[in-house]
């Protein structure tokens, strides 16, 4: 028997733990579409998010049920059939050790980290350079350099004095050269003449009458050329700021699920804008037949019945831009979330054209249709808005990772049709494509 303290060893676990985390990150990257659509991300609000990542484990032969459920032995009271507990399908952290679904662990991930992975996935690594329209902000005036003329108020005394002293030494040398007399004598003459060269020359002709100074003490002599003035410039700064005007149809047809998809997309759009602009402001407009500017919580909570006039929202967005966010100072992004229903598409198209005329950066159209399969009936299932946009503008229709995409050829128009959670990621990727968010003006 013995108890002893062995030599300490280096920490082996750390390196292998890092290897595991790296592998997890790869998995996270593969699962981005799912992670991005995770509800807890937009409700967390802490900059970190708990996402259920499959615990990396090595498979082995073991019993299992086909539905993903499992079983085992437990202890306690209760009749057969009694429910012991539930575990929500998404996001919610489980009780460690109590979970038989050990394959999933909730891992805390930074939203920033997820963003990085999104950008990596898009091959957009150097987003630090802000390749967007920078706007000039007037900060008043600032002094920048020196000029030979200007108002007296801006006289640069120091620089002027320096010039004067230079002039003194120059004149002293000239006197010496001209008269052939010693420096101290010349200085005495220059001083007596108060710096006027010709007078000093005259004085030197009668050296005997000249009061001789003890030492050369330089003093500034000013000619008109020697005055130096501060040069001023108007002070401006390049600043990048963006406004995202989010519009949403809150008429009866927009269900909670649809709103969730809209919210999730908006969340990521804002995250992205925040990354490229120093300042990002989001304004919310809801509409049914009429539009109004609302606060964020109202935006997502309102549900009203009635018809749908999309133009009302576009009109309001236009006036918001004119009054508060002029495109000369703001990068303007507008996004409209709708299920595609519209009572007056002609007028909507007209208002949209007006928005484009204002030179906004982008008009995004997120068509949210849940539980519909446009693929089955492509001809009949194009929504009113989708059809109207495709007809009114020169557009290219594509399909990317299951998401239908509408891209304006001449206008900064991007439309995406999102029908389920998994579409959020590809839809956002469309938005993130460089040529789309870069300045169109």
């Amino acid at each position: 028997m013995s108890i002893y303290v062995p030599e300490p060893t280096s920490e082996r676990g750390k390196g292998d733990a890092k290897r595991h985390r790296d592998k997890q990150k790869e998995v996270l990257k593969e699962n981005l579409p799912k992670v991005i659509a995770e509800e807890s991300i937009i409700t967390g609000g802490s900059g970190k998010v708990r996402v259920p990542i499959r615990r990396l484990s090595i498979p082995d032969f073991r019993p299992g049920k086909n539905d993903g459920g499992s079983g085992g032995v437990g202890q306690g009271d209760g009749e057969a059939g009694e429910v012991l507990g539930r575990r929500p399908g998404t996001g919610k952290p489980g009780q460690a050790g109590e979970e038989p679904g050990e394959d999933y662990i909730d891992t805390e991930v930074d939203i920033a980290e997820i963003l990085e992975l999104v950008f990596e996935d898009l091959g957009l690594p150097q987003l630090e350079e802000k390749q967007v329209k920078e706007l000039i902000v007037d900060l008043g005036w600032k002094i920048r350099g020196t000029a030979r003329g200007g108002p007296w108020a801006l006289l640069d005394a120091r620089r002027t004095a320096q010039e004067g002293v230079k002039r003194f030494w120059f004149l002293l040398q000239a006197l010496k050269d001209e008269s052939g007399l010693p420096e101290l004598i010349c200085f005495s003459a220059l001083k007596k003449a108060e710096g006027i060269f010709n007078e000093a020359l005259v004085l030197l002709k009668d050296v005997a009458a000249l009061p001789v100074e003890i030492e050369v003490v330089a003093f500034p002599i000013f000619h008109a050329d020697d005055f130096r003035f501060h040069k001023i410039q108007s002070d401006t700064q390049y600043q990048s700021q963006a406004v995202l005007i989010a519009m949403m149809d809150v008429s009866g047809s927009m269900s909670t699920e649809k709103k969730y998809l809209a919210r999730s997309m908006l969340f990521w759009l804002v995250q992205f804008l925040r990354k490229i602009y120093e300042k990002v402001i989001i304004r919310f407009i809801i509409h049914h037949t009429e539009a109004k500017v609302v606060e964020e919580d109202v935006f997502f909570k309102t549900g009203e019945s009635g018809g749908t006039n999309c133009y009302s929202a576009y009109e309001l967005a236009g006036s918001l831009i004119d009054t508060e966010y002029p495109v000369t100072q703001w990068n303007v992004y507008t996004w409209h979330f709708s299920d595609g229903e519209d009572f007056d598409t002609n007028r909507t198209v007209l208002e949209l054209k007006k928005l484009f005329a204002r030179k906004i950066n982008m008009f995004g159209y997120g068509e949210i249709r849940v539980g519909e399969h446009w693929r089955l009936f492509p001809s009949i299932s194009d929504s009113q808005l989708f059809t109207a946009f495709s007809r009114a503008f020169s557009v290219e229709k594509t399909e990317e990772e299951g998401v239908r995409v509408l891209t304006g050829s001449n206008d900064p128009l991007l439309g995406v049709v999102v029908t389920r959670k998994e579409h959020i990621f590809p839809a956002i990727k469309q938005f993130l494509k460089k040529d789309r968010w870069a300045n169109h003006a």
Binding site: M1, P8, G74, G85
Partner: protein, 502 residues
């Protein structure tokens, strides 16, 4: 800041526990208790051996333990003890004194089990396993440098997937030389056929039978492997056409580790129960003798109740194992065994049955020496014990729409619970999977057979394992098993998975 560990006092306590253990008839040996920092303990828990090769799964477990430790800060109420000669155990310097005392007692319980259990003697036969792991760590590092981390990792991943696919009979050393096994089989078949041949020949109708025997022998002569093989890792390591020497080295080290740990997996319930049984008694005695303060006894109570807490959806080895030994002891102290007791149908009489047989201690030592978990469950998980422990079988269902998992009690019938537990402890939860044919389709494909009578495999994991086996075997892999009560053959050919009706 926790108080620094009083090592001198711990030595006194340790000495006393040894004396008590010997007094109680426990087998003891010179256990090396290392006082270590939390980090080394957490690594010990994750890496299976004091020093082992590098792998992300160890890192993952290490980080999990570490996180729990950092967040609770309550000390590490686990013991790590290796069945080496001599046994090595870890004590964490920052643990409360009382906790380290429990651990010494608990470890001495394990050590008695190591020395006394017939099954664990197998584990001890791998006496150089710690050294092997130590040197393997160095060699594998060199392989990583030479062949790349990914390449080495791929082999380790694959090896881990089938690490526990071993012969269910741990006493049996599998015959890895095919030709010796084949000769033996052929001889046996010929011998079996001899008497029949003699009889049949009297009637002059031996042609047909001779033909059959010839065919059978021919089949045996060609069959690869001659007999089904349980030891998947061993067989593949030896016969795979694609593995390189360093792959074989890695897999051999892993197989040895798996085999040395297998006996512990077969006796986990008894081993943990036994150690818990004794640590409770050591602590009680130390307290009575005044070697532990009342406060320390309080700390012990807290940890003990934490470790033996009931789990709604888990099998607590410590509490159930402890209860099992106490149940057996009481049963045999009161003479509740034998024909007379079993035949008695009067429940009242049975409840008060006590012959003062006092055979309890003798019986539990017998169980420790000769039983595996499965044997103990078959014999002692009586209806009475299952009721007493309030055991049930739970199941979970995943709602396909919401993804919500619901856990519910599926079964309370002791008969069914016993059956499921026995099945779970016979092998590692599933019926064995054997290599039926290593030259399937005459193309060197690997054909595995799941000798299942109903238990189905988790499909996602099953397919994952097939991918790993493909990595090692290099040719298509087939697995005959059950899906939805039908016999199917699943396969993976390096690109896609297929499931076909048999």
């Amino acid at each position: 800041m926790p108080k620094p560990l009083d090592i001198e006092r711990l030595k006194i306590i340790e000495k006393r526990i040894y004396e008590i253990a010997q007094e109680w008839g426990l087998l003891t040996t010179d256990v090396q208790f290392e006082i270590v920092g939390a980090q080394k303990m957490l690594e010990g828990m994750a890496y299976m051996f004091p020093v082992n090769f590098s792998h992300w799964s160890f890192g993952r477990d290490y980080e999990t333990h570490r996180t729990i430790y950092d967040h609770t800060g309550a000390g590490i109420p686990y013991e790590t003890v290796w069945n080496f000669t001599p046994p090595v155990a870890l004590l964490v310097e920052t643990n409360p004194f009382a906790l380290n005392t429990i651990i010494i007692g608990h470890v001495l319980g394990h050590v008695d089990f190591f020395l006394g259990s017939r099954i664990l003697q197998i584990g001890r036969s791998f006496s150089d396993i710690a050294d092997e792991a130590y040197y393997a760590a160095e060699r594998f590092r060199e392989y990583e440098v030479q062949h790349g981390k990914d390449e080495v990792e791929k082999i380790i991943d694959a090896g881990m997937a089938i690490l526990w696919q071993q012969n269910p009979d741990i006493f049996m050393e599998e015959e890895l030389d095919e030709e010796i096994a084949r000769d033996r089989l052929l001889t046996m078949e010929r011998e079996k056929a001899r008497p029949a041949k003699d009889i049949v020949s009297q009637f002059g109708q031996n042609n047909n039978r001779d033909e059959l025997l010839k065919k059978k022998l021919q089949y045996l002569a060609q069959r690869v492997p001659p007999e089904p093989v349980y030891d998947l890792l061993g067989y593949i390591t030896r016969y795979s056409p694609v593995l390189k020497p360093h792959h074989r080295d890695i897999l051999t080290v892993m197989r040895n580790q798996g085999r040395s740990l297998a006996p512990q997996r077969k006796t986990k319930l008894l081993n943990e129960g036994w150690a818990t049984y004794w640590h409770v008694r050591f602590m009680r005695r130390l307290f009575e003798e005044g070697l532990l303060t009342a406060e320390e006894h309080g700390i012990f109570d807290d940890f003990h109740s934490g470790v033996t807490r009931e789990n709604k959806v888990g099998f607590n080895w410590y509490s159930i194992g402890l209860a099992l030994f106490e149940y057996i002891e009481e049963k045999y102290d009161k003479g509740r065994f034998g024909r007379e007791y079993d035949m008695c149908e009067d429940p009242v009489k049975k409840a008060y049955w006590d012959t003062h047989a006092m055979k309890g201690k003798e019986k539990i030592f017998q169980v420790r020496s000769f039983y595996s978990d499965r044997m103990a469950i078959e014999e002692f998980f009586t209806d009475e014990f299952i009721h007493q422990m309030r055991l049930y079988i739970w199941e979970s269902e995943v709602d396909a729409k919401t993804g919500e998992t619901t856990y519910y009690i599926a079964e309370r019938d002791p008969e069914v619970i016993r059956k499921i537990l026995v099945r779970h402890h016979t092998l590692y939860g599933i019926e064995p999977i054997v290599i039926q044919n290593a030259n399937h389709n005459r193309n060197g494909y690997l054909y595995l057979n799941h000798l299942s009578n109903g238990v189905e495999l988790d499909q996602r994991r099953r397919d994952g394992v097939l991918v790993h086996i493909f990595t090692l075997w290099g040719k298509p892999v087939f697995l005959e098993t059950n899906v939805d009560n039908k016999r199917v053959v699943c396969s993976f050919d390096g690109k896609k998975h297929e499931v076909k009706q048999k």
